[in-house]
Amino acid sequence: MLATRALSLIGKRAISTSVCVRGGHGVAKVEDYALPAYFDRRDSPLPDVSYVQNLSAEQKSLKEKEKGSWVALSNEEKIALYRISFKQSFAEMNQGSGEWKSVVGGVFFFIGFTGLVVLWQRKYVYGPVPHTFEGDYKEKELQRMLDMRMSPVQGFSAHWDYENKQWKK
């Protein structure tokens, strides 16, 4: 486990470039996005590569020390090894931000702007409403609804007093 991790730092790039040899024309260059990438994700705790690919001399000697007994490592060295492999700890990557406030504010702003657009449309784009919306046409409509006893149990006509020809109190 330790050996494979140490190897992966040095060996991976060499392996992937050597695979791309093309018929005598030399080694093809592999773009960065085609190589395994590092990512901080809660649901995938062990990324494909370590965070720090190019170790400094100090880090290299630390990696050599890691091959021995881990009891010999001090706490600072353990943390340094962790930081070589990982960018953010779980606590750091999981912390929330205040972004939601901006998002909610933006949402409200654009809903308000849409309201203005709709008002303008109502005034300058749409034609007049049909004649069926006029006052006495609507009165005749409602009278007809009561005459045919629409929703007489719990709905419209249930609220009309047919004896006294008025709405029930």
Partner: protein
């Protein structure tokens, strides 16, 4: 650095032990509340309406109001 070892197993089971009874209780409560605030009053309203319902009387009233096309009001 001697932190206690964190919980490694049984995390889902622990969560379910806590949340499932609550979920079932809430669902049951919602169903019972809906039954007694909506469906029972509705059933009673319909039963009461039809207890005193005279279909012929209603038909004649509607006829006089002139909403039918197959029968005219008695005046004509």
């Amino acid at each position: 650095m001697s932190l206690p070892k964190p919980m490694m197993r049984g995390l889902l089971a622990k969560r379910l032990r806590f949340h499932l009874p609550i979920a079932f209780t809430l669902a049951l409560t919602a169903a019972i509340a809906f039954k007694y605030t909506v469906t029972e009053p509705k059933k009673r309203a319909y039963a009461d309406f039809y207890k005193q319902y005279d279909a012929v009387k209603e038909f004649n009233a509607m006829r006089e109001a002139g909403i039918f096309e197959s029968v005219q009001p008695t005046g004509k």
